[in-house]
């Protein structure tokens, strides 16, 4: 019996993922209505449950891909992987009002630049405070505070050691998770209401995964605007991290 089930799950990974995620979304909708009387969005709860399951998966398997490391649920890896994630994000662009996006274009660009430089500066300062002195480590950790992809890409390009790289990735992952969880709570404070505000948020908060999940849990209609800007984040971060920002750190901390 067990073997039959396991074989079925392994050969139909993506289908298992649809069923599991459907169940999680159903459960969180129920919790949202009954426990919080609709005050906390169902999707926010679903993302929290997802993160909790990721923790469980990581604890059980010791792997790095959370719940998807459990053989039975490996299809989650495909469903939540970058291919389908990006496909779904592009699809949301279908709902974008071109005029709205155009009008906020320049604010989005400024937010994008700030969203790269500010986390980088914070990351470098914290690393410096904790005893890192060489420009390569400082830059790599600073880049990790931008996104968890910018960190390792920058680190690899300028020759950082592997433990600094791991630290840099961890910084980026914690940031993404923080953005996912805290966005719905801080939505009022950040005035996340209009397409323009979502674009500012997308630029400043960076991390496509954090922005997309955070906005999904706040207001589904704002997702495409935030994602549109946020997707330029990794590219810009990698571009600046290995050039201007690295040289700046090198100039300020020569050793």
């Amino acid at each position: 019996m067990r073997e039959i089930l396991e074989k079925a799950a392994k050969e139909n990974g993506l289908i298992v993922a649809f069923a599991i995620v459907g169940l999680v979304v159903l459960l969180s909708g129920f919790l949202s209505r009954k426990l919080t009387f609709g005050r906390v969005q169902g999707s926010a709860i679903a993302i929290l449950i997802g993160l909790a399951l990721a923790w469980v998966g990581g604890k059980i398997t010791g792997g790095s891909k959370g719940f998807a490391d459990i053989a039975f649920f490996s299809g989650i890896g495909l469903m939540g992987g970058s291919m389908l994630r990006d496909f779904a994000i592009v699809a949301t662009a279908f709902e974008v009002q071109a005029e709205e996006a155009k009008r906020a274009g320049w604010v989005g660009a400024i937010a994008l630049l700030l969203g790269t430089v500010l986390p980088f500066v914070v990351g470098v300062c914290v690393a410096r405070a904790y005893g890192f002195t060489d420009a390569v480590s400082l830059t790599t950790i600073g880049a990790g505070a931008v996104t968890y992809i910018v960190g390792p890409v920058t680190g690899a390009a300028i020759g950082a050691s592997s433990d600094v790289m791991a630290l840099s990735i961890a910084t980026g992952v914690i940031k993404a998770i923080l953005v996912m969880v805290s966005t719905p709570m801080a939505a009022k404070f950040m005035r996340l209401k209009t397409p323009r505000s979502a674009m500012v948020f997308g630029g400043l908060a960076g991390t496509v995964s954090g922005v997309s999940a955070g906005l999904a849990a706040t207001d589904r209609t704002l997702v495409p605007y935030g994602a549109l800007v946020a997707t330029f984040h990794t590219g810009l971060g990698c571009l600046l991290g290995t050039s201007v920002l690295y040289f700046a750190v090198k100039a300020i901390f020569p050793n």
Partner: protein, 129 residues
């Protein structure tokens, strides 16, 4: 036809990724520069263009909307595969750097969004906002 919409989406997605990679190569970065963003802009432009010519029927649009609607479930699946254990275990440097950058960015988001007039579509009385 449903598949026309999905195929349109797929073509935009692929073109965006390829253009993003080429842009990365041109800039000398080992990463995709805005591939998904370029794909989104392509899709927005193509939708407007096809609409004007009446070439996009609502069934075809359904082939795109379906994937857009799957967005939240996909994000939930993405949350399920984050390396939460490592994130919780990593040292103070990572936690403080992450919290610090999130707080600083949230302050800036709040600041910039407060500069936006409350209701932009209203007549010019609220110029002070």
């Amino acid at each position: 036809m449903f598949i026309y919409g999905t195929a349109l989406l797929a073509v935009c997605h692929l073109l965006g990724i390829v253009l993003g990679d080429m842009l990365g190569l041109a800039l000398g970065v080992k990463a995709n520069v805005g591939g998904v963003g370029i794909a989104m802009l392509l899709l927005i432009t193509l939708r407007i263009w096809l609409h004007r010519r009446g070439l996009l029927c609502s069934t075809s649009e359904g082939g795109v909307h379906y994937w857009g609607a799957l967005y939240i479930p996909v994000v939930v699946a993405m949350a399920m595969q984050q390396n939460v254990v490592a994130a919780l275990r990593s040292g103070r440097v990572a936690v403080i750097a992450a919290v610090g950058s999130v707080v600083v960015c949230a302050l800036f988001v709040s600041f910039i969004n407060r500069l936006e007039p409350e209701q932009p579509e209203q007549p010019p009385q609220d110029k002070t906002a």
